[in-house]
């Protein structure tokens, strides 16, 4: 039994290797290495998603938001210092805004305790609401002039010029913080609510990154981002990208080993017990929501790190470049096709799906070119002028179709989760 499974895996991975070799042969090594680095960044994110979905059955429909946030943190920490900002009145203005915000938060915290001095709970809530509204409005009226000032004098606040690795770590932590907050609200409820909430938070994060020009340079984009390894300008495309790839492979290997250990540990067993039968796990005295929160935060952490790596690698931070199809649903396909809950399967799915995704663009255009040719030759059909951009929309359709078909016919993916029996 085991040997047959192993042979199956061997064949799968051998074909994947063959595919990679074909890409190398067909598209040149600079292109192929770039594709592999991107695939490895997606693999880190997919590992985050597979522990959320595969280990614990948590539905995260807003992976894009975590990626974007991680990416921005990489910018904030690793982009070179913007001297124009630090020499302008910008920092002072921001400090003023922060001071007001802090004052508001302190007063809210104090007002929460006001029932201790004999104010009724009802009045406390009224006071609290008023304080929250007042803080919010003060913040809102204070931030706009500060933002205009910064945008006028320095463009945006720039980065902190710290090592890239720190930026990645902070990206992971920021994503984890958002995951914690959203998880606290939604994890006690059914998974559908989590899906809706994450979908919303992702769009909000994107809207914020796109519109807060003073902080993120918005649609004007930030580039070039620094790399943790020598950049192509120093040692050429293939060399630099290979170094980046090596770094990602090491990162994935570390994460993979840690996750494998976690999966087989008692903690992993609890998580799976909760996923498979929540009621039974709760009856055994397991704290269901706490475990779920742990796993959701852990998954978000990995998504943040992966997102930071992805943005660093692309060397440009463009908030409008984050699209749900590419940064959420493509990852879903990777995870469910590869095998949710199986780390190896997820890695396999990530690389395979990413190669197919990248190659599908020229392939689709080729197919539609053929359709246009035959259509005009045989049926006098005049193709619409924007056929190419429409053709690329077919990829949306294919992603959707793959999701539904995999769920229907191969719900366990190509490398299914191996249930460990003790």
């Amino acid at each position: 039994m085991t040997t047959r499974l192993d042979r199956r895996q061997f064949i799968l991975f051998a074909s994947l290797l063959l595919l990679i070799v074909l890409v190398f042969a067909g598209m040149g090594s600079a292109y192929a290495v770039r594709m592999l680095v991107e695939a490895s960044c997606f693999a880190v994110i997919a590992l985050g998603l597979t522990i959320q979905w595969g280990y614990a059955g948590l539905f995260n429909a807003g992976v894009m938001g975590f990626i974007a946030l991680g990416g921005y943190m990489a910018v904030l920490f690793s982009y070179p210092v913007n001297a124009a900002f630090w020499n302008s009145q910008g920092p002072a203005a921001l400090l003023g805004v922060a001071g007001r915000l802090l004052l508001g938060i302190v007063s809210i915290v104090l007002l929460r305790q006001v029932h201790r001095i004999g104010v009724g709970r009802h009045w406390r809530n009224v006071l609290l609401t008023l304080a929250v509204i007042a803080t919010y409005l003060t913040f809102l009226t204070a931030i706009n002039p500060a933002a205009d000032l910064i945008e006028g004098q320095a463009g945006f606040i720039g980065g902190l010029g710290l090592p890239v690795g720190l930026g990645w770590l902070m990206g992971g932590l920021a994503a984890a913080a958002v995951g914690y907050w959203i998880g606290r609200i939604c994890l006690g409820l059914r998974s559908d609510y989590l899906a809706i909430a994450t979908l919303g938070i992702a769009e909000i994060i994107k809207a914020f990154l796109k519109n807060a020009d003073w902080l993120t340079h918005g649609t004007l984009t930030v580039s070039p981002l620094p790399w943790p390894v020598p950049t192509p300008g120093e040692i050429g495309f293939v060399g630099a990208r290979s170094a980046f790839l090596a770094l990602m492979v090491v990162l994935i290997a570390v994460i993979y080993m840690l996750l494998q250990r976690a999966y087989q540990s008692p903690w992993g067993r609890i998580i799976r017990a909760i996923r498979d039968n929540e009621t039974a796990a709760a009856a055994m005295g397991k704290d269901v929501n706490r475990r779920r929160l742990q796993i959701f935060v852990l998954g978000s952490l990995l998504m943040g790190i992966g997102g930071a790596a992805l943005v660093s690698f692309s060397r440009i931070f463009d908030p409008s470049g984050f699209i749900p199809l590419h940064h959420t649903f493509l990852l879903w396909v990777m995870v469910i096709l590869g095998g949710a809950g199986n780390n190896l399967g997820t890695l396999f799915g990530a690389v395979l799906v990413y190669i197919i995704w990248v190659m599908s663009e020229p392939a689709t255009l080729l197919v539609f070119d053929f359709i246009r040719e035959t259509g005009s030759q045989w049926f006098d059909w005049v193709a619409p002028a924007d056929l190419d951009s429409r053709a690329l929309q077919m990829r949306v359709f294919i992603i959707g179709l793959t999701i539904t078909l995999v769920l229907r016919f191969a719900p366990k993916g190509v490398i299914p989760e191996e249930v460990v029996r003790h």
Binding site: A195, G200, V396, I399, T404, R408, P411
Partner: protein, 334 residues
């Protein structure tokens, strides 16, 4: 007083219009949620598909509306609703039924519905491109500018024909739906199944028919919402994504499984959105004379900048999930 008319134009009328759209969407979502027990993420795209059915009919018969004195898109609405209802049933047959029969977890159904949503998006864009279109091909959009018979008011109340149709139509639909759900046998069967599917089955209710009925109603309503919204604004292939969050927020605020809660929630979300992005300085400016001198009225004073409009339904959703997950009208917590 002109400022109040401005307020009415910007908040009251648009709030009613967008609230009606959300209401028709949210009823469908809440029914699917209650009877099939999953959040149907493809609902926004069902709206788009419905709107495109109506658009295709409008292109085929661009002058059909003129004889009745109504916009052609509106005249084609019943047909588009019927087509979308059939379409929704076909979707269920093709994608959801087998999963249901396999007894998968509800969250897998949610994921399948996202897959369906992507497929619909891809199809719509393949056939229609990504540009936005106007329903008014052979006619033009009627805009009523009503001068109020009060002295000192120069600003006019602006209301468009699609907005009137939208509000009237949604009131009509809601009334019909109310009688359908409370009086007819199908309606009772639907409510029974939403309360307890197994019990409904053993008491001899044909659950398959109820499921189909649910798709018919929610598909038809989604088409109506999509057509009326795109009559009012314009037909965009990517409108579904921005509609999804407000609609889910409305359904959850109202309490899942309660159509009337969904309507209340929808108007609440709609008005919250228009109130939040309204520039309150306009109303405060006439009061400047009475306010103490140290208060300076900013040029723009909106609770939420327009770019962040999506945070409003999200905020409402989060507040409800924290304090009252059952919603205002004691729906289910699934």
């Amino acid at each position: 007083m002109n400022e109040l008319v401005f307020f009415a134009n910007k908040v009251v009328i648009s709030g009613f219009a967008i609230g009606s759209v959300y209401a028709m969407g949210a009823i469908g979502v809440t029914l699917v949620f209650a009877i099939l027990r999953f959040a149907h993420f493809a609902h926004g795209d069902l709206m788009t598909v419905g709107a495109f059915f109506a658009y295709a009919l409008t292109v085929l018969f661009p002058t059909a509306g003129a004889s009745l004195g109504l916009p052609t898109g509106f005249v084609m609405l019943p047909l588009a609703m019927a087509m979308t209802a059939l379409f929704a049933m076909a979707l269920d047959r093709l994608f959801y039924r087998k999963l249901r029969a396999n007894g998968v977890k509800p969250v897998v159904m949610v994921m399948a519905s996202i897959g369906v949503a992507l497929m619909l998006q891809g199809l719509v864009r393949l056939f229609a491109g990504t540009a936005s279109r106007s329903f008014f091909i052979a006619e033009h959009k009627e805009i009523f500018r009503i001068a109020l018979p009060i002295e000192g008011i120069t600003r006019k109340l602006v209301i468009t024909e699609p907005q009137i149709l939208l509000v009237v139509f949604s009131v009509l639909v809601v009334t019909v739906l109310h009688f359908f759900l409370t009086r007819s046998r199908f309606g009772k069967a639907m409510r029974a199944m939403s309360d307890n599917a197994d019990l409904a089955r053993v008491s001899g209710i044909n659950t398959q028919t109820v499921v189909m009925m649910t798709w018919v109603i929610s598909g038809a309503l989604a088409a109506a919402a999509g057509v009326l919204l795109s009559l009012d604004v314009s037909l965009k292939p990517d409108m579904s994504f921005n509609l999804l969050l407000p609609i889910f927020a409305a359904a959850i605020v109202g309490g899942v499984g309660s159509p009337f809660g969904a309507i209340a929630g929808a108007y609440m979300v709609g008005f919250a959105e228009t109130l939040a992005v309204f520039n309150w300085s306009v109303l405060l400016r006439p009061l400047a004379g009475w306010l103490p001198a140290w208060i300076e009225i900013p040029v723009k004073l909106a609770f939420v900048p327009t770019e962040y409009k999506l945070t409003v339904p999200f905020f409402i959703l989060v507040v409800v999930l924290i304090w009252r997950p059952t919603g205002m009208f004691r729906g289910k917590v699934l």
